[in-house]
Structure formats: C-alpha cells, structure tokens
Symmetry: C2
Subunit: 160 residues, 2 copies
DNA sequence: GAAGATTGACTTCTCAATCTTT
DNA sequence: AAAGATTGAGAAGTCAATCTTC
C-alpha cells in the first residue's frame, strides 16, 4: 500500500468536491435568479457572454463553447431567450450556414438587473470563504481543467 | 474604478470556471462510464458512498446529502439502481419512516469493475495538470465551498 | 465531406405537493 | 408539526440523426 492509492483518493476527492460544489451552488443560484429575475444560471451566462461580445452578438457555435454547452443545448437555450425577447437571431452576410445570436435592448436591461443581484451574491459567497490570494489560486487551478477557461474573452493585449 | 470591480470579476470568473469544468468533465466521464459499464457518474458516486458505508447501507436521506442530490433525486436514482439489481431497499427496525439503501453483491461487483477504469482516468486527468501540492490545494479550496465536503466519510479518529 | 444549426427521443433532476410515521 | 420518502409535472440538456451550405 499506497503511493498510487493516495493519489487515487485525492483525485476522486477532487472530482467529488467539484461535483458537489457545483450542484449546490447551481441549485442555489438558480433558485434565486429564477425567482427574482426569471432567468436560469445558464441564461445569465449566455447574456453575459453576449454583453461582452463585439456588437453584442456571437455565432451560435461560439456561444456554445463559451457557455459550456453542446450545439444542441445552445439551440434550446436560445429558443427560450428569443421567445422572451432577450435575444434575436441574425444571419451572416458572408456565410449562410452561420446564425448569430444578438442581445436585444431588453436583453441588456434584463442582464443589468440580474447582474447587480447575482454578482453581489457571488462576491459575498467567495469573500466569506477566501481571501484575494486564495480566490486567485482557485481561479488559476480551475483554469487548468479542460473546458474551464473556454469562452473567456481574451484580455486586451497590454504590452506592445 | 475598481476595488469592487476586480473582486466581482474574479468571483464571476471562479464560478464560470467551476461551472464549465464541471460540465466538461461530467460529459466526458458520463460518456465513458456509460459505454463501458452502463453507469452514470451519479450511479457511480452512489455506489461509492455505499461501499464505504457501514454494512454497505445508508439511509436514503443521508445518501442524498452524500451525493449532492435532493431527496427527490435520490429516489429516482435508487429506483434505477434497484431495478438493475445493484442496490436493494430495507426498512429500519427502529423508525418506520426511514428506508435504507443497501448495496448488493452485484452492486459491489459493478462498482469494482467500473472503479478500476474510472479512477485511473480521474487520476490521469489530474496528474497531467497538477502536482501533488497543487492537487491538495485544489481539494482544500473546493472543500470550503458549501456542499462540497458533505458526504465524505469521516476520517477514522487517529488520536486517542 | 466537414461545419453549423436544428430536431426527435430520451435521461436526469428539480420543485411543489402528498403521505406516513414520529 | 417535523422528518423521511415518494410522486406528478416540467425544465434543461444530451446524443444521434438530419438538413443546408461551404
């Protein structure tokens, strides 16, 4: 016993904690966002991506990557947001295969309203448990997992 | 600008990364476990908890906490596992409200078969990205999030 | 043939409500 | 009335297959 055993235990524990932390937070945020603003966590995430995107629009396939869904999942998600008037569809001039998702003024408004609440809750949650260095470490470590850092807007290049 | 802005950004990023990392890993593990052993990640998790539990059984409500589901979710999960013969139900002698979930011999076998595969994949995934200290740090940080460390078997008390 | 988008069928899980036992 | 278990109804997302355009 147990060089490998320890590593196994630790890997299993890391995955379990990731899974359970996600489940708990998702449930809690979903409940709150849903009640207060009629949005799911994923809705919020999608609006967030679109807000940050050039001209408030993204190709549907890029949005899929950015919010961590399959193309299929994004299709369903956008159907809901379009029906709610928060997003609209637009075709590409140069490639008839692609369809853009564009955030509408109503979408921007809805996002702004929800963001105030949601971000404050998020900040409080982490602030209660981590100092700035720890939070940075957590972000950094999570970022190395596959898929975790996908869809983050590239930082504007700072140096020449 | 932006003492609060930076903290907000960081909190938002932490949550996004947690969410996306979870989505990606869950999809990948689910696919593999499903194909190779006919189990979902949650099935595996439940069997794992039962394997570690005293006498291979837990109250359904405790299992819910341990795998990060609602009572309702556990009910559905166990229905599937019982139908597959991996788990059976048992009533409590002392409290007629509670129902135990007991892992069966077939369940132990199924778990053992799946665990070899799954744990190896898990260990490889983390080993590729983190050294032992980093993995320990990740486990520790995740453990502070609500719900993350629930359902971990208490370590046997080491000191008298 | 590959990329993007979409749909049908299905699974999993949640919430809210209910029933039983304490 | 609170705790545990369960069920009906529905949301959300997956996979596999399909259609269209490149």
């Amino acid at each position: 016993v147990t060089g490998a055993g320890v590593a196994d235990e630790q890997a299993l524990r890391a995955w379990a904690r990731l899974q359970h932390a996600h489940a708990g937070l998702a449930r809690s945020f979903n409940g709150h966002l849903q009640r207060a603003h009629g949005l799911t966590v994923t809705d919020f995430d999608a609006l967030h991506q679109l807000m940050r995107a050039e001209a408030g629009r993204m190709r549907r396939t890029d949005l899929a990557g950015a919010v961590g869904l399959t193309p299929s999942g994004v299709c369903r998600l956008l159907a809901g947001l379009e029906q709610a008037g928060l997003v609209r569809s637009a075709d590409s001039a140069s490639d008839a295969r692609v369809s853009y998702a564009c955030i509408t003024p109503a979408g921007r408004q809805a996002f702004a309203a929800a963001a105030a609440d949601h971000v404050a809750g998020l900040r409080a949650l982490f602030a209660e448990r981590f100092d700035a260095d720890e939070l940075a470490a957590l972000v950094h470590l999570l970022g190395r997992l596959p898929g975790a850092a996908s869809g983050e807007r590239a930082r504007v290049a700072v140096s020449a």
